[in-house]
């Protein structure tokens, strides 16, 4: 029963959603309204669950003095302080919450993302080689697009931005659409497998 009931819920709700999309009627519209109300009630519990799980994982790490437990201390400290200042003084501009956001969250986030530029530069120098015809085509396309996406490309000749637009609008678009179709079909197949109980890994444990 531990497995049958969840599988039945998935099958019934899955079929109801398929029916809602393909058989438009008042009944299916009412069903969606009913579902939305339930989602609004159940959804926020995910936050409670997430916070509880985060605290539990890091608390245990600190308690066991696991490797790098100091980071867990910082995580929990940040969670408690940010939540507390948000509750006490609010989250509007000019509050301590916004000070934390502007002086910790923004620079730390931007630093992490900006490291990408250094990795790309290093990879471009050390790994981006014209070893084959395919790699050469990719390399030439990359150079044209990089030039075409900045004003220097236009300054050299208007052909560079024009070719850049063509690369993005034709070969890139065709490849992206092919991938999207593949992903779409894969998602449909996986959804069917879940609804029919063939794919059960989301239930956890063994089949």
């Amino acid at each position: 029963m531990k497995r049958q009931i969840p599988l039945m819920i998935v099958l019934i709700l899955g079929l109801l959603f398929v029916a809602h999309v393909f058989i438009p009627s008042k009944l299916s519209s009412d069903y969606l309204d009913w579902f939305m109300k339930w989602t609004k009630v159940i959804g926020p519990f995910a936050i409670v669950l997430g916070v509880f799980s985060l605290v539990l994982v890091h608390y245990n790490k600190i308690k066991r003095k696991a490797p790098n437990w100091g980071y867990s201390l910082v995580t929990l400290g940040a969670l408690i302080v940010t939540t507390a200042v948000g509750f006490i003084w609010g989250i509007q501009e000019g509050t301590p919450y916004m000070w934390i956001f502007k002086n910790f969250n923004v620079p730390l986030g931007a630093t992490m993302f900006s490291l990408l530029a250094f990795y790309i530069a290093s990879a471009a120098y050390k790994a981006f080689r014209a070893r084959s015809i395919e790699a050469t085509v990719l390399l030439v396309a990359a150079i044209i697009v990089m030039l075409g996406r900045v004003s220097i490309g236009q300054a050299i000749t208007h052909w560079i931005p024009d070719i850049t637009e063509w690369i993005l609008n034709v070969p890139n678009l065709a490849a992206k659409r092919g991938i999207a179709l593949g992903v779409g079909l894969g998602m449909t197949a996986t959804s069917l497998k879940i609804m029919l109980g063939i794919e059960r890994s989301y239930l956890g444990g063994r089949d």
Binding site: A117, F128, L147
Partner: protein, 317 residues
């Protein structure tokens, strides 16, 4: 050590150092490179501008992005908000990420200080943070009734009682939803809001995501897009040359660099503030870095081919 080996084995720290200089120097000493606008950005500008002065039309700006992508996306946030406040376009802001709510506060307060007549809940309304798990009910619910789906603004006030909502009911009153993010969040708006209710959707994305939107642009599922810092720089320029002069958009003028230069000479002081030029200043650095990376690729490949040739010669001997 041979020349080919030397090129191949350059210390990473030298590459990092040169790159850091290529980023920092153009930011300190402005090059003032020109900005050329492209169709997806012009389309988005034109689309938003069509709501100018209309009491029963608004745009939705979804700030579902975190601080990591602010250098690229924040200039977009500011440019679109400035466009709306300058041209009297109503704005709803929302975020499905908690950090996004803080970014909304930051952007609104930064632009609002230059537009003292703009009032919260009258000219714009900040819906604030809504949990990720509620995105589906909110996206679908707004198709019937925005006030019922969103319920409260960021201050906890009931939407139905706010002056801005007097002429607003559902997506029929939404000119365009602009999703600004470093993810594929825009596709959710297409799947749920556009497919079911026909609302127009546009996106502002990081440069690495920009190539993903072309299939959606071709089909019209996205009515426009801003790709990375370049997209933001183009939008900043369009706001400067059209919105700041309260003139209608014209593609012909936007592409005429002599006309654009002439508009720049007559800009009000407000448009010259650093915060409204961030993307264009950043594009100077980006242009130099792109050229530098191209040089790195060429140098790396010269070293590779010299090395290959030397090895072939050795093999023949």
């Amino acid at each position: 050590m041979k020349f080919a080996d030397r090129i191949q084995k350059v210390d990473r720290r030298i590459i990092y150092g040169i790159l850091a200089l290529a980023v920092i120097l153009p930011l300190v000493f402005r090059l003032g490179l020109k900005t050329y606008t492209t169709t997806p950005v012009e389309d988005l500008y034109r689309h938003i501008d069509a709501a100018a002065g209309k009491d029963d039309m608004a745009i939705i700006m979804d700030f579902t992005h975190d601080p990591g992508v602010l250098p690229e996306l924040y200039p977009m946030d500011l440019a679109i908000l400035r466009h709306c406040f300058q041209r009297n376009i109503k704005v709803f802001t929302i975020s499905f990420l908690p950090q996004g709510a803080a970014i909304i506060q930051l952007a609104l307060s930064e632009v609002k200080e230059d537009y003292p007549n703009i009032e919260a809940n009258v000219d714009y309304c900040n819906f604030g943070f809504k949990p990720w798990s509620l995105k589906l009910p909110i996206m679908l619910g707004m198709g019937d009734d925005i006030a019922e789906a969103v319920e409260t603004n960021s201050e906890g006030l009931k939407l139905e009682n706010l002056p801005i909502m007097q002429n607003m009911k559902n997506y029929d009153n939404i000119q365009v939803v602009v999703e600004i993010s470093g993810s594929s969040m825009g596709q959710f708006w297409v799947t749920y809001a556009r497919a079911k209710f026909g609302v127009d959707v546009a996106v502002g994305l990081t440069a690495v995501m920009a190539a993903d939107v072309y299939p959606f642009l071709q089909t019209g599922q996205f009515v426009g897009s801003l790709g990375g810092l370049k997209g933001a720089a183009e939008y900043e320029q369009l706001v400067d040359i059209f919105a700041m002069n309260n003139t209608e958009f014209s593609k012909k003028n936007a592409r005429n660099m002599a006309w654009v230069e002439a508009q720049y000479k007559e800009l009000p002081e407000l448009a010259k503030l650093y915060k409204y030029n961030k993307a264009r200043i950043g594009m100077d650095a980006q242009a130099i870095v792109h050229v530098l990376i191209i040089l790195f690729i060429i140098l790396g490949n010269i070293g590779y081919f010299l090395d290959q040739r030397a090895q072939k010669k050795k093999f023949v001997k």
